[in-house]
Structure formats: structure tokens, C-alpha cells
């Protein structure tokens, strides 16, 4: 569950990125965030990840009141979410299995759990045959699926994806988006920032449009009003 109450964000350089945002996203929802470049979409996600703090207002994520979040609690907040990056962020010197296992190791999972969970998640994204491959041997779409598996492996209640299909071709993009919808169907809240209008139209999911830092429209059944 995500809640924005009267959130303003002004960066140190004086740039106003978000302007009085009030939003509620329930557990289990699938939400597209759309808007022109520079509208404030990534800023919106960064506030959720507690990578930036609001200048004014309150953000609540998975029961963490972020203005009250202590430094040492930040890792606990992050463990409730899985983050997918536009540029995949895979470690080139690790194979697919290790890239995914890495996310479990660094939160202290036991080897036994890792060897059970990683193959399961890789199968979920259809990469069970590529476990020993290295990132450079994979297509963009496959790399993004590894990154998705990594985001999923710690079983987060929320997936955040900032333009996950920005670097891959349209057919692959469709597959990635279908995967995200499938993950959502299994109970995970999913937040996707995208520029791809075709994808937004295809899936008919709640769509929040941001313009100049303000919520311009919020349509539960998808699409952006003319």
C-alpha cells in the first residue's frame, strides 16, 4: 500500500519536480505511471524507494511512514520492494544464477533456500535453461527478465519498474509487461513507469498521468483522457 499526502518535491537546485501529489495505491494493484520527459515520474518512484525525501508532505509505503524512517530501517523498507531498472543493472562477471542469488545472499539467506528459490523464480520468468549464461550472452529482453527475477526473488510485496522496456524491442517489451501482469496476478503490487503508449492501451490498467509535477489524470480502467 502506497500513500502520498500533499507531497511536494523541490530539488536542491530549486527545480520543482512534484507539486501537491495526493495518491493512494492499494495492495495488489497494477498501476502505469505516464507523462512527458521531465514530468516527475522517476521522482515519484524515488520518493517511494526513500532515495529522495519530500520537501513537504508525507509518503507511506508498506506501513513505513517514510518521514520517520531511521537510517537503519531503510534496508527493511527496501526488502519489501523489488526494483527493476531500465538498464537492467546486471553484474557482468556473474552468471544468471549468481546475479539472482546475489540479491538473496546480501539479505542473509541460507544457501539451501537460495538453491531452492532461484531456479523457481528463473522458471517463472522463463529462463530456467539460461542459468549458467552470462549477461553479455543474453538478449535485452532476456537480461530484463533476469533483472525481474532478481527483483522478485526476495518475495517483495511491491515491484517498482522505471521504464523496464525502454531498452528493448517492442515484442520483447510485450513479454516483459505480460510477466509483470502475471506477477501482479499472483498478488504483488506493481508500479510501472513507461513511455510506451501501445502497452498502456493494451493492458487496460489503472493509469496515473503526471504533468509538470502534478497528477493530471488518474483513470482506474486505463488509458489517458484526451
Amino acid at each position: 500500500m502506497i500513500e502520498f499526502n500533499g507531497v511536494h518535491k523541490v530539488y536542491d537546485n530549486g527545480k520543482k519536480a512534484l507539486d501537491d501529489v495526493n495518491i493512494r495505491i492499494e495492495k495488489g494493484e497494477f498501476v502505469f505511471i505516464v507523462g512527458k520527459s521531465g514530468a516527475g515520474k522517476s521522482t515519484f518512484l524515488k520518493l517511494i524507494m526513500h532515495e529522495e525525501s519530500p520537501t513537504v508532505g508525507e509518503v507511506i509505503v508498506n506501513d513505513f511512514r517514510l518521514s520517520k524512517l531511521r537510517r537503519r530501517q531503510e534496508p527493511m523498507l527496501r526488502r519489501t520492494m523489488g526494483i527493476v531498472f531500465q538498464d537492467f543493472r546486471l553484474i557482468q562477471t556473474m552468471n544468471v544464477f549468481d546475479n539472482v542469488a546475489f540479491a538473496m545472499r546480501v539479505v542473509g539467506a541460507k544457501n539451501r533456500e537460495i538453491h531452492k528459490r532461484v531456479p523457481y523464480v528463473l522458471q517463472l520468468v522463463g529462463l530456467q535453461d539460461k542459468m549458467k549464461s552470462y549477461p553479455k550472452e543474453l538478449s535485452g529482453g532476456e537480461q530484463q527478465r533476469v533483472s525481474l527475477a532478481r527483483a522478485l526473488v526476495n518475495n517483495p510485496s511491491l515491484i517498482i519498474a522505471d521504464e523496464p522496456t525502454g531498452n528493448i524491442d517492442p515484442t520483447m517489451s510485450m513479454e516483459i509487461m505480460q510477466l509483470l501482469v502475471e506477477i501482479n496476478r499472483l498478488g504483488t503490487t506493481v508500479l510501472v513507469v513507461t513511455h510506451a503508449q501501445a502497452l498502456v492501451d493494451a493492458f487496460q490498467k489503472r493509469t496515473i498521468q503526471i504533468k509538470d509535477g502534478r497528477v493530471e489524470s488518474d483513470t482506474p480502467e486505463g488509458g489517458v483522457p484526451a
Partner: protein, 299 residues
């Protein structure tokens, strides 16, 4: 700590992956440990020689010719009361004359001079702390019954000065070297942090604690420190034995400490110094990095 094995492995792996930088900092750190260690060993030996000289340094206090028995006793009490005096031994003029006569091999001499003894009563005095030598001598000189003092002041003086110079110079050098070491280590770690910033970003993104992120780098620093300490130890050992051979194990007739008698102290001190410097150095650069980046998972 079920993940400690993993964190240790990561630390070692990182040293190996960045072995060129690691080698460079091991060389610098080894040099720093070596200089510090050798300076300390020289100091310890000077001190050791100093102590020996101190114990052998006997001062003869000659009393006035006309002293009474009461005077003699009074001087003895005064000497014993001085805090820097470790030993006081009275030698009467009769004893001295007796010894002298025996040395000359003529009993007659003793008999002839007994009535009008040309010798003087004296006290043989030894000191605790040679650095207070002059001061104590002045105190003795101030006693009204003393006539003169016979002492080898020069050697004690020089040794005392040498010790002070070594102590000050040593402290300055050690502080400088520690700073240099910390600087070198933290820069090496900064480079490996930089080369692994993607990994660190991912770790932050999936919720690794700062402790977990920091530990492999601290281990890396510790490994660099450990290796440096071992290399420095071997070089110290060889150099020390070589120098000992050169000196024949002594200077100015005083024995020097053998490496065998203190090898484990040297080893422990080196290991502690190296590992600690390595860990602190990397903690410094890690702390700065985690603070600057503020836990930014997207960098």
C-alpha cells in the same frame, strides 16, 4: 553470523580482483610498518643499553677530610632519602687504605699511613633513572659534607639525550606513517568501491544493511594489512639478525636484545598495527561513500 564465511570470501576475492592496487598498497604499508618497527626496535635497544649503563654507572662521593662519624651518618641518610638513588654503600678511608695497601702488596704501607690517613671517606652511589643524573648529582653536591664527586657523566648524558631525540623523532615519524598508511589504504579501497559501485547499488536496492555492504571492504583492508605485516615481519627478522651480526651483539660493551627474545612481540605488534590500519582505512572510505551516496540504489 551465518554469512560471515561469505563476507570473508568476498573480501579475499576483492583483494585478488584488484591485485595490482592491492600490491601497491601492500608495498607502501609494508614500508610504513617496517620503518615504524625498526625505529621501535632501535629505540628499545637504546633503552636497553641505557638501563645497563644505568646499573653499572657508579658514582663515588668523596666526603670532606674532617667529617665526624655523625656527619658520615647524616650524609648516608640524606643519600638514602633521595628518590633517584637506588643504592648507597659506605667505604671508609681505612678500608680504602687497606685495599690500596693490599693491592700494592705491602702491609707496612697501611701501618705507616694509618695515623695520618691521606684517603677520604666515601659513598658509592647508584641511580634509578639516568635521565635525572645531573639533577641528582647537583643535589649530592649541595650536601655540605661532600667534597667532590667522581662520575662518568658523559656517557650517561649522551645516552639520555639520544633517547629523548629518538622518542620525539619516533613519535613524529610514527604519526606521519600512520596517516600515510590510512590515506593509501582508504584510497585503494575507494578504487575498489568505485569499481564495484554497481554491486553496491544493487545491494542497497535489495535491502542489504550497511554492515553487510561494508564488511567485505573492511575484510579487504584487513587482508592487505595482514599481508603487509607478514612481509614486514620477515624483512625485519632478516635485517635485525644481519645488523646484530654486524655489531657482534653489543655496543659500547653492552649487550643488545636478540630477535629470538622478542619475535612474538614484534609479530603481534605488526599484525595488530597492519590489520587495524587496514580496517580503519577501509572503514573511513566506506563510511564516506555510503554517506555521500546516501544509500542511493540507482546511483
Amino acid at each position: 553470523m551465518r554469512n560471515f564465511g561469505y563476507l570473508l570470501r568476498e573480501g579475499f576475492r576483492s583483494v585478488w580482483k584488484n591485485r595490482l592496487m592491492a600490491a601497491a598498497s601492500i608495498i607502501v604499508l609494508t614500508a610504513c610498518i617496517l620503518i615504524t618497527g625498526l625505529a621501535a626496535l632501535v629505540f628499545i635497544n637504546v633503552n636497553y643499553v641505557f638501563e645497563q649503563v644505568a646499573h653499572q654507572n657508579v658514582v663515588v662521593v668523596w666526603l670532606q677530610r674532617d667529617v665526624t662519624d655523625a656527619d658520615i651518618e647524616a650524609v648516608g641518610d640524606e643519600l638514602n632519602a633521595m628518590s633517584n638513588v637506588s643504592g648507597v654503600e659506605f667505604l671508609s678511608k681505612e678500608e680504602i687504605l687497606d685495599r690500596y695497601a693490599k693491592e700494592m702488596g705491602s702491609e707496612e704501607l697501611y701501618e705507616a699511613l694509618k695515623e695520618d690517613n691521606p684517603m677520604q671517606d666515601s659513598y658509592i652511589v647508584t641511580f634509578y633513572d639516568l635521565s635525572l643524573f645531573e639533577q641528582t648529582l647537583d643535589d649530592i653536591r649541595d650536601l655540605p659534607q661532600t667534597e667532590s664527586i667522581e662520575a662518568q657523566t658523559k656517557l650517561a648524558d649522551q645516552l639520555s639525550q639520544l633517547r629523548n631525540i629518538l622518542m620525539i623523532a619516533g613519535a613524529v615519524v610514527v604519526v606521519l606513517l600512520v596517516l600515510v598508511s590510512l590515506f593509501i589504504i582508504s584510497n585503494t579501497i575507494k578504487l575498489t568501491v568505485y569499481s564495484r559501485r554497481l554491486e553496491i547499488g544493487i545491494m542497497k536496492a535489495v535491502g542489504a544493511t550497511n554492515f553487510f555492504i561494508r564488511t567485505p571492504f573492511v575484510v579487504e583492508g584487513a587482508v592487505i594489512g595482514l599481508l603487509s605485516a607478514l612481509v614486514a615481519y620477515l624483512v625485519t627478522w632478516l635485517a635485525y639478525d644481519r645488523v646484530m651480526m654486524l655489531f657482534g651483539g653489543e655496543v659500547i660493551g653492552m649487550g643488545l636484545l636478540s630477535f629470538q627474545s622478542m619475535w612474538w612481540i614484534v609479530l603481534l605488534a605488526y599484525l595488530a598495527g597492519g590489520v587495524l590500519t587496514g580496517m580503519v582505512g577501509s572503514a573511513i572510505s566506506m563510511g564516506r561513500y555510503l554517506k555521500d551516496e546516501g544509500g542511493d540504489p540507482t546511483l
